[in-house]
């Protein structure tokens, strides 16, 4: 059984008068169990020469529905104005935008596709799925 962990720290000394210092760690388990997730895509990187709309990075038909998959997506660029828009489902509902250096981390049930749209030429996206059968 594989053991995979994710840790997140959010901190700020000046966004309010009470400093923010949140640190959390989770171990990835299969849905409803304490058995570790055991499959992964590895860290993938795609580069889009042209600005591109709704490019798939997580294909729901390749995964079992209603599971406890995890998805990490990162914009490895450095631009503060060019961005990757991460969308979900056939209607391409926007989860959010990732500017240069930004990332997201979500549980993904495998029920809906995850796509990305790039705002400029020559942009890359990095992503990884850690999943269960």
């Amino acid at each position: 059984m594989a053991t995979t962990t994710a840790s997140l720290t959010i901190s700020s000394s000046d966004i309010s008068s009470d400093a923010i210092s949140i640190s959390v760690t989770e171990t990835f388990h299969k849905a409803g169990t304490t058995i570790g997730l055991d499959q992964t895509t590895g860290m993938a990187r795609k580069t889009f020469a042209a600005a591109s709309s709704n490019q798939n990075i997580a294909l729901q038909s390749a995964y079992t529905d209603d599971k406890a998959h995890k998805l990490f997506v990162r914009n490895p660029g450095t631009s503060t104005t060019d961005h990757i828009t991460v969308v979900i489902a056939s209607g391409h509902s926007v989860i959010g935008k990732l500017y240069g250096g930004e990332f997201l981390f979500i549980p993904w049930s495998g029920n809906e596709d995850i796509d990305v749209t790039t705002s400029a030429t020559n942009m890359s996206v990095e992503y990884m799925i850690i999943s269960e059968a």
Partner: protein, 133 residues
């Protein structure tokens, strides 16, 4: 200008034959700028005595459209079987499930509600929105 950072680490020594070690850090800026986000809800805890279905957790009406906010949500329970389902928008598109101790971190444009459903009674979560006007 406030400075808030988020750092993520993903690691595993045995998920594949190549050890996984990913680190990402970003400073939380307003959309398309290098100006730090300057508003925060504070870390909010909600207790649901009864199982919920499509209950609004974060209302888009409270945020300016097409802004670059961040959301952190954690299931603070310890159950490996009870979970929150995180949903996007009026059609409640399922993003994924948070079992006990699981969390997510996403950018948020403030255009669609974030709803939750819970699988059992007496479940608790924490969340925080870091945002711009």
């Amino acid at each position: 200008m406030a400075t808030t950072t988020a750092s993520l680490t993903l690691s595993s020594s045995d998920l594949t034959s190549d050890a996984l070690s990913i680190s990402a850090t970003s400073t939380l800026y307003k959309a398309g700028t290098t100006i730090g986000l300057d508003q925060v809800t504070g870390l909010t805890r909600k207790v649901y005595a009864t199982a919920q279905s499509n209950a609004t957790l974060i209302s888009a009406a409270s945020y300016t459209d097409d802004t670059h906010n961040r959301i952190y949500i954690k299931n603070v329970g310890t159950s490996s079987t009870d979970y929150f389902t995180i949903e996007l928008g009026g059609s409640n598109i399922v993003i994924g499930r948070l079992y006990g101790g699981d969390w997510l971190f996403i950018p948020y444009e403030g255009e669609q509600d974030i709803d939750i459903s819970s699988s059992a009674t007496d479940m608790e979560l924490e969340y925080m929105v870091i945002y711009q006007a």
